[in-house]
Symmetry: C2
């Protein structure tokens, strides 16, 4: 009853090619034929599994987790926040993935489906960071009066602004000072 392994294999290589194409060409210049070519797959195979470009791109992005997930179990809450922010900085500097983000942001301006996906996706990412920060507030690592949602936006704002608007993207090593700047250690 298991699905034909050829199906999952096709889907995997096509999704991977979509990310490559998206990074290289952007959403507007991404073509189904280009994806199929890059995936080493017949065009018909792509049309067999996805109805259109938007669905294809959304599906590819949905499956694009990074295997390396930061350790959010050990260390103080502040350590965990710094590790998570460092991880975000790494993702935001990854050559392929970060260009996919730029393409997604741009495409979201013009396509409702991509906009909904984009907003949901980044909202989920903010929730993750908010949860870790909140545990830091509970632990006394951060000031009791911390506005968690504002802190999340302040931190991610710096990371993404520097990546997409300047030539000095945030590195993982910058994570700690940024977290400190946004949420100074309480004087206990």
């Amino acid at each position: 009853m298991a699905e034909d392994p050829r199906i999952e294999r096709s889907r995997r290589v096509v999704r991977d090619a979509v990310l490559d194409e998206l990074a290289d060409s952007g959403y507007g210049d991404l073509t189904i034929e280009g994806v199929a070519r890059r995936a080493g797959v017949g065009k018909s195979t792509v049309y067999r599994h996805w109805p259109d470009k938007a669905a294809l791109v959304i599906d590819a992005l949905e499956h694009a987790h990074h295997d390396l997930v930061p350790d959010l179990e050990s260390g103080t809450a502040r350590d965990r926040v710094v590790r998570l922010v460092g991880h975000v900085a790494e993702v935001a500097t990854d050559a392929r993935f970060s260009r996919c983000i730029a393409a997604l942001v741009d495409a979201a301006e013009r396509d409702v489906r991509l906009r909904e996906f984009h907003h949901q996706y980044s909202s989920d990412r903010r929730s993750e960071l908010a949860a870790v920060i909140r545990s830091g507030v509970d632990d006394g690592d951060f000031d009791r009066a911390t506005d968690v949602d504002a802190a999340v936006v302040a931190i991610l704002g710096v990371v993404f602004y520097r990546r997409f608007m300047t030539a000095q993207p945030v590195t993982a090593a910058d994570a700690a000072p940024i977290v400190d700047a946004v949420m100074p250690t309480p004087l206990t």
Copy 2:
């Protein structure tokens, strides 16, 4: 010796059409024919004045100042900072211009010339804000120890992050609280 007025007229309507097209279609789907059509101009006229798409888009963006410039003369330095940030928020929510920014950020990932323009342009905008903040530091409106460049990135980061990654963009009315959060009033 003055230039034929038809030339400047052509350039103006084409540049305007480029911004419309860029906002509606993004960089990848922007076509010269589409621009000419939208401008109500022959395709040859566009090719007569610009060598290619990148030059055309860069030129259009270079000429795309907003006529409304915030008052940076009167009021305290803090007032001026708040007004400038409010202005940035307005520009970042302007339907046409903000979509052009998204298109530019995306295109800058893949085209050197657009990247250089983009980095230069946004660097200039940061310098403007930095100068006003610096005068506020000198006036004692802000803490003497303020890291001006970091404050600039913190403020613009929030504005752009909220505009492009969330469904709650910053409004002009949000400018004051954001400035206050990043640069608290010194206790004198």
